[in-house]
């Protein structure tokens, strides 16, 4: 049994880590971009950001004043049992979000879309979002919080098989150019691309690709992995850098996630995470011990399974 007070305490710590500490994989990627940047303005911006991360860590203050719209990704191993059950788990995550917002403090960004009601704690109707996944073995629970911004850098388009890879490249460029101007996308960022599914699933795939995979991680399908690298290269050759200034730092990495879709479709979504790529994770075990990390390790073979049952059985027919 996983103790519920341990879950809430861990969730609180994760809120703090995500807001204050830049994940190492992204920092390494950004330092490389900063070293390669030749545009004077774009280069100044990257240097200022690197100093900003240091200041945040030293002072234990949030990296960015817009602390995003905190959300949760929860992965539950098949044999895990949570004290109080799933309802207690959700209450713990909502409680940690509210108390962390007030005591770190974070910016209370969440308001009612029509009445603008603000509880000053980032909790309200449907907020924070909590998404779930499961893994076949183990008795642990993985908690990941992501503090992604909520205004710019994301788009969706209904493409078709006849649009092909060139259509994917064009919409990728469109999204970066549109939101990259004036730096609205807070680039350079990790760019997530969702392909297929349905409109809503496509958005979910792309967002998870941006938020739940680390810099350098490649999709296990070698052709998709190649496309990820090609898109990154393409984005960095637009001629635009940080804040939309002349430069070449747009994309730290591109991640593509796919989902089977309607036979006539090729839905596509693009999501820019931000210059602070705020994510933090922890695994809580049955005994109550906790391991913290910054890699969500979300995408396991099980999460990308394409067979009817698990362990894998060969599908009867593979479509091209």
């Amino acid at each position: 049994m996983i103790p519920i007070d341990k879950i809430q305490a861990t969730a609180y710590t994760l809120m703090e880590m995500a807001a204050i500490e830049i994940p190492e994989d992204y920092l390494v990627g950004l330092k490389k971009a900063a070293a390669d940047e030749t545009g004077d303005l774009s280069s100044f911006v990257l240097q200022a950001m690197l100093e900003n991360y240091e200041a945040a860590k030293e002072d234990r203050r949030a990296m960015c004043g817009d602390t995003g719209t905190p959300r949760w990704y929860v992965k539950i191993a098949n044999e895990a049992r949570i004290e109080g059950g799933p309802v207690a788990l959700e209450a713990a995550l909502r409680g940690a979000t509210a108390s962390a917002t007030q005591s770190i403090p974070l910016r209370p960004n969440r308001v009612h879309p029509l009445w603008r009601t603000d509880h000053d704690n980032n909790v309200g109707i449907g907020a924070p979002e909590i998404e779930y996944a499961y893994e076949p073995e183990g008795s642990w629970i993985d908690l990941t919080t992501v503090h992604k911004g909520g205004l710019f850098g994301t788009d969706y388009r209904m493409l078709f098989p006849s649009d092909g890879i060139q259509g994917i490249k064009r919409f990728y460029l469109d999204s970066l150019v549109a939101f990259g101007k004036r730096g609205l996308a807070c680039q350079p960022a990790i760019i997530g691309v969702g392909l297929g599914g349905s409109k809503d699933a496509c958005m979910v795939h792309g967002k998870r690709a941006a938020c739940l995979r680390t810099v350098g991680d490649r999709n296990p399908d070698p052709k998709i992995a190649e496309l990820e690298m090609e898109l990154t290269e393409l984005g960095n050759n637009i001629g635009m850098g940080a804040m939309g200034f002349v430069g070449k730092s747009m994309v730290i990495d591109t991640h593509i996630e796919v989902g089977y879709c309607h036979t006539g479709a090729m839905q596509m979504s693009v999501h820019a995470f931000c210059l602070s790529s705020r994510r933090a994770c922890a695994r809580v075990y049955a005994g109550g011990s906790v391991e913290y990390r910054t890699d969500p390790e979300w995408y396991t073979p099980y999460q990308r399974r394409e067979t009817v049952t698990w362990p894998a059985t060969e599908p009867s027919r593979k479509s091209a």
């Binding site: 807001a19 900063a34 070293a35 940047e37 004077d40 303005l41 280069s43 100044f44 911006v45 990257l46 240097q47 200022a48 950001m49 100093e51 900003n52 200041a55 945040a56 002072d59 203050r61 949030a62 990296m63 960015c64 004043g65 817009d66 602390t67 005591s103 403090p105 974070l106 910016r107 209370p108 960004n109 308001v111 603000d118 000053d120 205004l151 388009r157 493409l159 006849s162 060139q166 259509g167 490249k169 064009r170 919409f171 460029l173 469109d174 150019v177 101007k181 004036r182 730096g183 609205l184 807070c186 637009i238 001629g239 635009m240 804040m243 939309g244 200034f245 002349v246 931000c274 210059l275």
Partner: protein, 225 residues
């Protein structure tokens, strides 16, 4: 290799003289000293639409309006805990800027991403105001360090933490970049033009999507704001 050392750095008062403002050039890096106040749609609506009286002497106390919501919370003893400070995108506030600049006498508008060239030419230049953009975005921790004191928070109960008017004493508060100067020229506009020249090449080989969307333009030099 990085060449950011080439940008000129300027220290500026939050009640700058016309001469100080005239010296600012596009792309200068600015650090502020004095008092800034936050004001965005909540404050604009309250003052300009509901007719609420200004709760402080403007521009006497400050001529620097920051489009910002801080990451902050009130403490039980009545003081405030302020962690990071970052701007919000300014282009959404166009409809209030002419009246606000007239009433507040603001000479410095601080925010994210600048405003449209029309706003600068029609509104800012007339009031002798300039636009300074935050950097990043956003260097919230560095800006948070520059706040020495929360002097006051107006309309906290009415508007909530994000929309209230925060009056902040600041020292070496920055970095900001001069986005629009006293002539209404824009750094973003200048950069956009340079980048637009290279766009046809990067799009080479791609073709428009089979299914079009309303409002679609093929001129990628166009802006969406």
């Amino acid at each position: 290799m990085a060449r950011h050392g080439t940008l000129k750095k300027v220290s500026l008062s939050t009640n700058p003289s016309p001469e100080d403002l005239a010296k600012l050039e596009l792309g200068n890096v600015v650090y502020l000293n004095g008092v800034v106040y936050t004001g965005r749609e909540g404050v604009y609506m309250k003052v300009l639409q509901d007719g609420a009286e200004l709760p402080l002497d403007l521009p006497g106390e400050s001529a620097a309006n920051f489009h910002c919501s801080p990451a902050a919370a009130p403490r039980e003893d009545g003081t405030y805990d302020l962690s990071a400070v970052s701007a919000t995108a300014s282009f959404r506030f166009t409809k209030w800027m002419a009246d606000w600049l007239r009433i507040s006498g603001a000479k410095l508008i601080l925010g994210k991403g600048g405003m449209s060239p029309e706003d600068y030419r029609n509104t800012f230049v007339r009031n002798g105001s300039v636009y300074l953009t935050t950097v990043g975005y956003g260097t919230g921790a560095l800006l948070g360090r520059g706040v020495t004191k929360v002097r006051d928070v107006h309309w906290l109960d009415d508007l909530g933490i994000a929309q209230a008017m925060w009056v902040l004493e600041v020292e070496n508060f920055g970095p900001f970049i001069v986005e629009s100067d006293i002539n209404g020229d824009s750094l973003f506009e200048r950069e956009n033009k340079k980048i637009a020249e290279g766009l046809p090449k990067i799009y080479e080989g791609t073709k428009p999507a089979v299914l079009k969307r309303f409002g679609e333009t093929d001129d990628r030099g166009d802006e969406l704001i």
